[in-house]
Amino acid sequence: MASVTPLKTSAELALMAQGAGLPIARQSAFGRFTEAGLPHRRIEAYHYSDLRSLMKDAPQLAQASGSAPSDTVFGDLDAMVVTIVDGHLVGEVNASLAGVTIATQGDAPDDGLAKDSVFPESGDPVIALNAAFVDQTLKIGITKGAALEKPIHLRFVTTAAVSAYTRAIVNVADGAKVTLIETHEGIAGALSNSVVEFSVGDDVQLDHVRINLVDKAATLLTTLGGRMGARSTVTSGNFVTGSALSRHQVFLRFEGEGSTATISGASLLNGRQHVDTTLVVDHAVPECVSREHFAHVLDGEATGVFQGKIIVRPHAQKTDGKMMSRAVLLMDGATMNNKPELEIFADDVQCGHGATVGALDDDLLFYLRARGLPKPEAEALMLQAFVGEALEMIPHEGVRETLEGLTESWLKARG
């Protein structure tokens, strides 16, 4: 077969034009993107999410920022809110919370090729683009032993059809306890590319939540990179109802023994939404526990993608890893693609994965209807329970309740 150089898509052409203006320091990251262009289905990691065909455009880079809507999705949740509008921090950076330091940095962030990075060694085009275009890196530190009395809420907002690149680096020192929430809100036509990195010490409790509520005609590319020390507990809960196209990547590595990570997610999709979650959990040391549970509710012609890989390194004995992906298809036109993988190089481990895809159980539906529940109500009750399995892995009660409420509204809107 003759090798063909594919024509550049309009999104790629726009990105090339934007990259031409980048300073020298950003050129190497940008170069790594231009080598291959947008990833497509023949690139293994993007097989189910062909960005070359799914990304129609790369809107102009955000300049100054507009202002964020005043209400957050949480109503009256008491949190330290950091608002990033169109890729730029709004207002003074001030850490109004004891135990938190916050600063911004303008030079080029790492694009994942540093020696000990948790990001893929071969590079990743989405992270490379982030490294090339991000203006400000937000640096948040949680001091040793601090138990934060309220959550930190990173609020990412777009107010125009622009490309917004953001990066936050969070250092959680030994013994600290923190809840970190990211919400993504945005308008039609916007492209957001956000990278959040954690560096978690020993004996830490970090509860992270990511909520994607951007417009259903927006694109959201998010990456979470995390490393964990010993005896720490990290949870990362995800909730998605937004975006036409979204991909969330998680790269998490255990670097200290006796730690536990719980990564969960619920995606409620309809229309032609395409939502991808790709995660790699790397057990590099012994005696760590990881749990992954993702639930997809797919209506209309929506597509869900779950790719999860658990790696157990040769000496990571007593690893306990379990991964589950469950999807409910509400219409014939909906699609779920599951690709669970275990790469196990140690012998004394307990690892497993499972995936289910199917319609709601007819017999259960009949049972509920025979008790008087009209069909939509019976379906909503079952779906609420299905989504609840993922949501209950989020420890923060207020956040969980908000997400249960969003689930209920989504189900009501289905009719």
């Binding site: 007819d362 017999d363 259960l364 009949f366 049972y367 509920l368 209807r369 025979a370 008790r371 008087g372 529940l373 009209p374 069909k375 109500e377 019976a378 009750l381 079952m382 609420q384 329970a385 299905f386 609840g388 399995e389």
Partner: protein, 252 residues
């Protein structure tokens, strides 16, 4: 009054006919029992009355107080007063029993154009009903039927019946899987609900249950039809002689 006339039913793909011209009338306040060998179509009849979609109605009609049930969705039938205690109650993980009971009661009230129950009233009714049936409070907080024993599931069905106050309650082998104590509790629960404007269709394979829930009429079902109708003494006769007479009748 429930009237079933000339009911012919096959499973949905038409591959098998189960009910073959069944006629049955149950008057208000009447407790009717259906007995019959396994596979004679008893559960199918109960499902068809309740509106399970897996069946094809080839002929006949089912009227509840003159209303054509066959034209109604299962939830509308429930609101009209049909209740089916399932032979095998289903487990619904993640749906707390309380949440389910409230949703069911409110849905039926709404469908009848009545107001929703106030939470304290609802709680009180559930608590009282559960106590009578020996259902511990913590079971009500768990997922519906999840991890319940066979007997607990049957009691939960009777609790639902008590709360939903149907006009026709169909009990499909509610006695199966019950020990004698549970059988008594469940029967008391049923007897307490007997009234002039509520009728029961008690489906059972054994006569034992009918010692506790004493029927007004007993119908023998075989091969998808009622082949004999009598009083409560018919159950005793069946217990003594078995179903052989009726099964061979049909084969002849």
């Amino acid at each position: 009054m429930l009237e079933i006339r000339n009911l012919h039913v096959a499973i949905e793909d038409g591959s098998k006919k189960i009910l073959n011209g069944l006629d049955l009338t149950i008057h208000n306040g009447e407790v009717a029992a259906i007995m019959g060998p396994n596979g004679s179509g008893k559960s199918t009849l109960s499902y068809v009355i309740a509106g399970k979609p897996d069946y094809e109605i080839l002929d006949g009609e089912i009227l509840l107080d003159g209303e054509n049930l066959l034209e109604m969705e299962p939830d509308a039938r429930a609101a009209a007063g049909v209740f089916l205690a399932f032979q095998y109650p289903l487990e619904i993980p993640g749906v707390a029993t309380m949440t389910f009971l409230k949703a069911a009661m409110n849905a039926q009230s709404r469908a009848r154009g009545e107001g929703e129950l106030k939470t304290p009233d609802f709680m009180r009714r559930v608590k009282l009903g559960a106590e009578k049936l020996g259902i511990p409070q913590d079971m009500l907080r768990r997922g519906l039927n999840v991890g319940f024993s066979g007997g607990e599931k049957k009691r939960m069905e009777i609790l639902q019946m008590a709360l939903l106050e149907p006009s026709i309650a169909i009990l499909d082998e509610t006695d199966s899987g019950l020990d004698i104590d549970a059988l008594k509790i469940v029967s008391e629960g049923v007897n307490a609900l007997r009234s002039a404007d509520r009728s029961f269709l008690v489906i059972t394979h054994y006569q034992r249950l009918l010692n506790y829930i004493v029927p007004d009429t007993v119908h023998v079902m075989s091969n998808g039809r009622i082949v004999k109708t009598g009083g409560k003494e018919l159950a005793l006769e069946l217990e003594a002689n078995g179903y052989a007479d009726y099964v061979s009748n049909v084969a002849a």
